[in-house]
């Protein structure tokens, strides 16, 4: 029986009286590129928070490659292979680029408890970092303090942090938000070229990006899933148009 990379069953998240996520069920196949779209306040980020473990759902079940992760903490889910980027840049501004990558590498390894050898001497760290940084377009920036990086460069670093451990499931929360068109293009092509060993779930506002990348699209509105289908189907659906363009 084929396992889904990600399976949500009737996930609900309430904040006080508000149903931020209102009974969402979806299944993402391994290797799939699923884009989640919806107007502001539709519950996309809350949904991501539920999946990555920042918050626990009020009810419902979340499974990742057949394993129930609903009650696991955020660090535990990362250990299981869930990677994530955030809508608001959350890289470590006070550290260097290399230190940022090092932390991402250490996050799921026992070496994070090492108290003797220096970080600089971690086997393979420099090579891995150089490789990943080159991939996203930040070659040679290892010793730069992140606070000196431009916003676009920070977004690129953000992606490195999520990718460096080869996650099985990657959650991208508007990875291109706030970028100039050329930066957007570059980041997008990197994302598009990621291997299919990584299953991808992406929140995106930009319809064009969404449609260029997605195998399937899930549309959220007011916490509920109102439609799911191929990019073309979603684009042409009148309900979606109303939800997006009716809401001005």
């Amino acid at each position: 029986m084929n396992q889904f990379a990600l399976s949500l069953q009737s996930v609900v998240k309430m904040f006080g009286g508000v149903r931020a996520v209102d009974g969402v069920s979806l299944q993402v196949a391994p290797g799939e590129r699923r884009v989640v779209i919806g107007p502001n306040g539709a519950g996309k980020t809350s949904l991501f928070h539920c999946i990555s473990g920042v918050i626990r759902p009020t009810s419902g079940v979340i499974q990742c490659f057949g394993e129930d992760i609903t009650q696991l903490s955020e660090p535990q889910r990362t250990q299981k292979g869930v990677g994530r980027t955030f809508q608001i840049s959350s890289v470590f501004a006070e550290l260097t680029v290399l230190e940022n990558v090092a932390l991402a590498v250490l996050g799921i390894r026992q070496q994070k408890w090492g108290m003797w050898s220096a970080v600089n001497q971690l086997k393979g760290l420099r090579e891995k970092a150089a490789e990943q940084l080159a991939l996203v377009g930040l070659p040679g920036k290892e010793e730069v303090m992140v606070k000196s990086l431009s916003y676009g460069e920070r977004r690129q670093l953000e992606l490195v942090l999520a990718l460096v451990n080869g996650p099985k499931l990657l959650l991208l929360d508007e990875p291109c938000a706030g970028l100039s068109p050329s930066e957007r293009q570059r980041l997008f092509s990197i994302i598009k070229n990621l291997p299919r060993s990584i299953t991808m779930l992406m929140i995106e506002h930009d319809m064009d990006i969404a449609l260029a990348l997605a195998d399937r699209v899930t549309v959220l509105h007011r916490g509920e899933m109102i439609l799911e289908g191929s990019a073309q189907e979603v684009r042409q659906n009148p309900q979606v148009r109303e939800v997006y363009f009716g809401q001005v």
């Binding site: 470590f92 006070e94 090092a102 932390l103 991402a104 090492g114 970080v119």
Partner: protein
């Protein structure tokens, strides 16, 4: 640019080493005693700074570990005739065990952490005063004998100075390794962005707890050295004042650096010694220094040096 600085730093370190090793031969007992005190309080400040400068946690209970270790060692030696070789480990164990308990405070953050540690520190101070049957109350424990190591009694200021210096050098070497290690980086990551650390797979509270216990051990070590230096301990050692002074030393010298706390200790103790010779209100002076540092030099002495040297590079 980097290489010049590296060489300069190494040179300065060597010069400093020569100075501290040669001091007792060149200066009198007063200076030897003062510098020993600087080492001891610098160590306490370093303990506080492990949490403050690296993990971003402002602890106000470290004087408690300092005092508990000092009291344990001295009470064992004075009242129960226990030898130094057992009293010292016992003191370290007592202080560190308290650290294991107080370390639970890492479940809180920010302001709450400050307030909780402040209150915890007060418990120990209060117990020191109130439980006078055990701790000697106000008068504390007096007549602590000189430490005896393998039949040899360390009775002169110069001998003790070298013992403290040796301990200090070992501690510094280990501390440097610790802050450069993955563990140290994790602490700095937590300080820089804790939520992100969780999403990277870390459980910050665990690292913070271990760091807390390590710093409690360091503070305990300072306490044990202190009680042999002073030959006396009273509840003031557990007071908020001592803790705040340790914080001040770390910040004045340069928080997050290896030698900053010691530079700070030298400045604060030096200032206090100098001021008290003509003016009794050293607390006010310390208060003014706090205010001045916060407003004009938050990076401390080392911060100023760095600013100056990077300014020169332009």
């Amino acid at each position: 640019m980097n290489t010049t600085r590296l060489i300069a730093t190494r040179l300065i370190a060597i010069v400093l080493l020569i100075i501290v090793v040669g001091l007792p031969m060149a200066a009198g007992t007063y200076w030897v005693g003062l510098v020993t005190q600087i080492f001891i309080f610098g160590l306490l400040a370093l303990a506080v700074d492990l949490l403050l400068g690296h993990a971003g946690l402002f602890s106000l209970c470290h004087a408690a570990f300092f005092a508990v270790a000092a009291y344990t060692t001295s009470i064992l030696q004075v009242r129960y005739g226990v030898s130094t070789q057992w009293a010292v480990p016992a003191g370290l164990l007592a202080g560190t065990s308290l650290g294991l308990l107080f370390g639970l405070s890492v479940r809180t953050r920010g302001v709450y952490f400050i307030l909780v540690t402040m209150a915890m520190g007060y418990i120990i101070w209060g117990v020191g005063y109130r439980w006078s049957a055990f701790t000697g109350g106000d008068s504390g424990i007096t007549n602590v004998p000189a430490p005896m190591v393998s039949g040899f009694q360390i009775s002169t200021a110069e001998q003790f100075y070298y013992v403290v210096l040796a301990v200090l050098l070992v501690v510094l070497a280990l501390y440097q390794k610790l802050v450069r290690s993955p563990f140290g980086l994790v602490l700095r990551g937590i300080k820089s962005g804790e939520p992100r650390m969780r999403s990277l797979g870390f459980n910050p509270a665990r690292h913070l707890y271990v760091a807390f216990v390590i710093s409690a051990f360091m503070a305990s070590l300072a306490g044990v050295l202190y009680v042999y230096h002073n030959r006396f301990i009273n509840p003031v050692a557990a007071s908020l004042h001592v803790n705040m002074e340790a914080v001040l030393m770390a910040i004045v010298g340069g928080s997050g650096t290896l030698l900053g706390p010691f530079i700070g200790a030298a400045l604060v103790l030096g200032l206090r010694n100098w001021v008290s010779s003509f003016f009794e209100f050293h607390l006010a002076v310390m208060g003014l220094v706090f205010i001045a540092v916060v407003i004009w030099a938050p990076g401390g002495v080392i911060g100023l040096l760095r600013r100056y040297s990077s300014g020169k590079e332009k």
